[in-house]
């Protein structure tokens, strides 16, 4: 992604920031960027924006960059970040709020195309895999 950010104080009171805080139940400004969440994240290698960067972008109200990030669909809510955050911020809840913002956006924006799987592939998968993937990535 483009790493140049144009930061404006106008975005700090953005309704997007308030919405993320409401759905996640978290205070975004509590984060002081220690980076422990990204250091321990088992999915970090597959992410385009690291967890601590996601929190920073959310603080600044960078809506477009966040909602287009691959990272929000890579996080599987393993909660390693939550259990290690020295400020007790539930980072996984913030990722959930970002996914929900996309999924609740009005246009159907599912991030799982179950029909692309062959019947054999679907049949081999355990029910808990299918149901959790659908619950997390579709509306």
């Amino acid at each position: 992604m483009n790493t140049t950010l144009h930061i404006s104080s106008a975005r700090l009171g953005d309704p997007f920031v308030a919405q993320i805080e409401k759905i996640s139940g978290q205070n975004l400004l509590a984060c002081y960027q220690c980076g422990k969440c990204s250091a321990g994240c088992p999915m970090a290698a597959h992410m385009d924006v690291l967890p601590n960067q996601v929190i920073r972008l959310a603080q600044l109200g960078m809506r477009e960059q966040l909602l287009a990030a691959r990272s929000i669909w890579i996080c599987v809510s393993c909660l390693t970040c939550n259990s290690r955050c020295p400020k007790d911020i539930k980072i996984a809840e913030i990722f959930e709020a970002l996914r929900q913002t996309v999924l609740r956006g009005g246009n159907r924006a599912d991030h799982l195309e179950i029909r692309e799987l062959t019947p054999e592939a679907r049949g081999a998968l355990p029910p808990i895999a299918m149901i959790s993937a659908l619950r997390k990535q579709t509306s």
Partner: protein
């Protein structure tokens, strides 16, 4: 707290969907090994899907309906607690229970939605995982007395994954370095190996459409067990089991040095040590057959 000879203890048991499908080996080994411990497990009547994942958004009450319906069924079975073995079911049922106990408004909304149910939920059921039941109600010392075939020489890596230890409020052991499974398999006569990847995520539901992530995770996690010269890995989650066992061919394609290693449920090791027959083990349901490894240790 073991039942006496005349009256076995009764325990309501929630198996969950996957234990009736791909993980039937987890189901039969649970029921058989509990019978050896004089505990009669009674499958919960009319159970439904737990929901599999706890929605992390503060306003998603709809996803709490499935777990709470199961808690109602437990009350209808005249019980105040029940046991499950699947880590995903345990986590989802336990988290929903904690939430409705804390938030009266959420509980009221769910009860209103379920107005056709004859029983109302009032936060009066406890969710137990089999591992904590074995530790706290049976005791690993008592459990050791039931061992007929000690698993001597068997080197075991105990894998907890995410859902038994996170978040802290559902964990029944240390979040970073749990040892409950090591204590169990020690009671069975086996040898636990150090396992730095024991609480690392397996990639979970990415197995549906991003199997390349699972291949990378399986390579790292099983590779760590191999470095410790483990004979096998034990788990308590059917999704971890699927990823770590059935995705090993993908891990091998990613890393030619990857060595295959069997993945078993902890209940299968109990059934094996208690002398249960093959129908309680169902090794035919595994991708990597555990039998050659067990035979090499004189256990199959």
């Amino acid at each position: 707290m073991m039942g006496n000879e005349n009256k076995p203890m009764k325990l309501i048991y929630y198996p969950g969907c996957t234990l009736k499908n791909q993980a039937r080996n987890f189901d039969v080994s649970t029921v058989s090994s509990m019978a050896e411990l004089d505990v009669e497990v009674e499958e919960l009547a009319r159970w439904n899907c737990c929901g599999t994942v706890h929605a992390l958004s503060s306003d998603n009450i709809m996803n709490r309906v499935a777990p709470v319906t199961n808690l109602i069924r437990v009350k209808e079975a005249q019980a105040s607690e029940f046991m499950t073995t699947c880590a995903m079911c345990y986590n989802t049922l336990k988290r929903a229970n904690i939430e409705v106990k804390k938030r009266a408004d959420v509980l009221e909304t769910i009860n209103d939605f379920l107005s056709l149910e004859e029983t109302k939920y009032a936060g009066d059921v406890d969710v137990l995982h089999l591992l904590e039941y074995l530790r706290d109600r049976i005791g690993f010392d008592k459990l050791a007395e039931k061992v007929k075939k000690p698993l001597e020489g068997l080197r075991v890596a105990c894998y907890y994954g995410c859902l038994l230890v996170r978040p802290k409020e559902v964990a029944f052991d240390d979040t970073e370095n749990p040892t409950i499974m090591e204590n169990l398999i020690t009671a069975l006569g086996a040898t636990p190996v150090p396992f730095p990847m024991k609480t690392e995520c397996c990639g979970a539901y990415h197995t549906v459409d991003k199997p390349e992530i699972i291949a990378e995770r399986t390579d790292k996690i099983m590779g760590s067990a191999n470095e410790e010269q483990a004979d096998l890995v034990v788990v308590s989650c059917p999704l971890c089991a699927f990823n770590l066992d059935f995705r090993q061919d993908d891990a091998r394609r990613l890393n030619p040095d990857f060595h295959h290693l069997p993945v078993l449920y902890f209940t299968q090791l109990m059934a094996l040590a208690f002398g249960c027959d093959d129908s309680a083990l169902r090794f035919d349901l595994h991708h990597i057959d555990p039998q050659p490894t067990l035979a090499a240790r004189g256990l199959a």
